[in-house]
């Protein structure tokens, strides 16, 4: 029973998506999870399925992944809470309005629909936004899900196709085709996928950095908000590599609750909520939506995004021909899970991929090390 075609380490949304994709393709899949499937960063995230355009490679993967989510849409169970909310990128001033137009051009060139909103249009789409904003860009096909139940769904589908979940032990070591667990037992597999999120036990040298994030959720206020809103300034602040930053990012949940983000901090590996940055984050949100100040938040938590130096995930083979990576998804792992899983399955089955997999190959790490001297 201890031998697999594909052995996946980590049952976050990435590992679970890989398990589903491989099991459905007829491969014999095992998935090792030390704790609770979907309980890591996947349970801490926001669940925004969003096309992002920081780089052509990021645009390609998010667009592709979003299209895979759309294919899944009708078969997802209601617990996944998939809602086609659309994103509005909110432009505060004319300078940001120029970015709206630039963004629309980039999206259009990639075949992603978007609609420019002027000041009056954004006010009518989202009446609780403060008056006098310059406008925004509506991306109607972006969606919202509840990530841990999506991971559970992927895992259940994988298990229906024969995948085996091995819970309660951490993988501590891999050698060619062999995984050692923390109780000393071993599992063998022709292909091992490392999908352990922030845990670097297996490859301690892999360039990955944690970026702490805070989120707050409110009580139920149905119809307060219609779309997921993100300030365009988010792009500026999210790019800062060294400084702490906050940005207005708010998401409507099916329950009528509002999920409010977001913060980014480097070098803070302490999981407790940080009141100073939380205050800054909520002030920022209230600045865009003054009525938020009168609502009550019922919970606050933190989570860690796992970032690579070039902000693209590691998807693909390593120098060990049996070891493959699916790590470093930063703030886009929920969105990108189906795309990453499909790229790996393509590799295993010698299928031609629908998008070019080379920008995400881990082999670039060696090159990055050389480049950084």
């Amino acid at each position: 029973m201890n031998s697999f075609d594909v052995l996946i380490l980590g049952a976050g949304i990435i590992g679970c998506a890989c398990a589903r994709e491989c099991a459905q393709a007829g491969l014999k899949v095992g998935i090792v999870e030390v704790n609770i499937p979907g309980g890591g960063a996947t349970a801490a995230g926001m669940g925004h399925l969003v096309v992002m355009d920081d780089s052509p490679a990021q645009l390609a993967l998010t667009r592709y992944s979003r299209s895979l989510w759309q294919e899944l849409m009708t078969q997802l169970p209601p617990t996944v809470e998939y809602e086609n909310r659309g994103t509005i990128w909110v432009a505060a001033d004319e300078e940001e309005m120029a970015e709206v137009h630039a963004k629309q051009n980039i999206y259009a060139s990639a075949g992603v629909d978007s609609i420019v909103l002027d000041s009056a249009a954004i006010a009518s789409e989202e009446p609780e936004l403060r008056a006098g904003l310059a406008g925004g860009l509506l991306v109607p096909d972006d969606a919202v899900i509840y990530p841990p139940t999506a991971a559970a769904y992927f895992l259940a589908e994988a298990m229906q196709h024969g995948a085996l979940l091995l819970r309660g032990h951490a993988a501590v070591k891999t050698g060619t085709g062999v995984v050692t667990l923390d109780d000393g037992s071993t599992l063998t597999s022709g292909r091992i996928i490392l999908a352990t999120g922030a845990d670097k036990t297996i490859l301690p040298w892999l360039p990955l950095q944690k970026r702490k994030g805070h989120l707050a959720i409110t009580d139920r206020y149905p119809n307060f908000l219609r779309h997921q809103l993100v300030e365009l300034g988010y792009l500026k602040s999210a790019h800062k590599i060294t400084e702490d930053s906050v940005a207005f990012n708010i998401q409507p949940r099916t329950t009528g609750q509002l999920l409010i983000g977001s913060s980014r901090q480097y070098g803070n590996e302490y999981a407790a909520a940080d009141n100073a940055i939380l205050r800054e984050m909520l002030n920022r949100a209230c600045n865009y939506m003054p009525a938020l100040a009168h609502l009550s938040a019922i919970r606050v938590w933190t989570g860690f995004r796992v970032a690579t130096p070039d902000k693209l995930p590691y998807i693909g083979p390593t120098e060990d021909p049996t070891l493959f990576l699916a790590m470093g998804f930063e703030g886009l792992g929920i969105t990108n899970a189906p795309g990453a899983a499909r790229l790996l399955a393509d590799e295993f089955l010698n299928r031609q991929s629908e998008i070019d997999p080379t920008p995400y190959l881990p082999s670039r790490v060696a090159r990055m090390e050389v480049a950084h001297g």
């Binding site: 009580d219 139920r220 206020y221 149905p222 329950t255 009168h294 009550s296």
Partner: protein
């Protein structure tokens, strides 16, 4: 014995007479309506009566999610089941 003073609160749109000094959750209970509905639509009413369980939330004078077990009725107050 003198009758205790009463006042009027509007519960789900119906004028209801309550003894002065009643807490809102008691008035809602007396009116026979739930304080709130759960996500699946199930009725919920006061449980702990001391402000810690949040089961007694209702809309009071237009403000949602008020813990009604901690509020005393005022004359003319409007109270609505929280949905």
């Amino acid at each position: 014995m003198a009758k205790p003073p009463t006042l009027i609160v509007h519960i789900n749109g119906r004028a209801t007479t309550v003894d002065a000094g009643s807490v809102v959750s008691a008035a809602i209970l007396a009116a026979g309506v739930p304080c709130r509905l759960s996500i699946s639509g199930a009725p919920r009413s006061a449980l702990c009566g001391m402000g810690i369980c949040f089961e007694c939330r209702a809309v009071v004078d237009g403000i949602p999610h008020c813990r009604t077990c901690q509020l005393v009725c005022r004359d003319g107050m409007t109270v609505g089941t929280q949905r």
